[in-house]
Symmetry: C2
Subunit: 87 residues, 2 copies
Amino acid sequence: MYVILVYDMGEKRVSKMMKHCRKYLNWIQNSVFEGEITEVKLKELEIGARKIMNENEDSLIIFKSRNERWLDKQVIGVERMSTDNFL
Amino acid sequence: MYVILVYDMGEKRVSKMMKHCRKYLNWIQNSVFEGEITEVKLKELEIGARKIMNENEDSLIIFKSRNERWLDKQVIGVERMSTDNFL
């Protein structure tokens, strides 16, 4: 399935969450990830994310679509994902 | 159509962009919006956003889906949208 993941974390936890999410998805913008992922891997991602985040303060939203083709993506301005490989 | 909008802006432009996007969509997380919008209104949103942003530094991504039902949304942690009316 195709997912878009966005988070809003306390500053101390941001870099840990970013590293965690990048194991599973492609980073496309500050705190936004997307990619194809299996149900099992997504569950693994979620379990790991819950360990990193403070669920009383932080927010993580996952949009799931069975097919990427149902979504059209438009990027305006800088395409940050192009630097993904250099981080 | 249903859209998810995420932006990554220079600090000086963030609040202006937030105000602009809230005219058209629902704020669901720091720099993330979603909602039903017409093609015409989305174009209006985009034109206004381009005026606010610095296209060499800032990034705005719009995911468009013809139907919200094609997307399943999971929120983990704090649901920030619940405070939307108080801002």
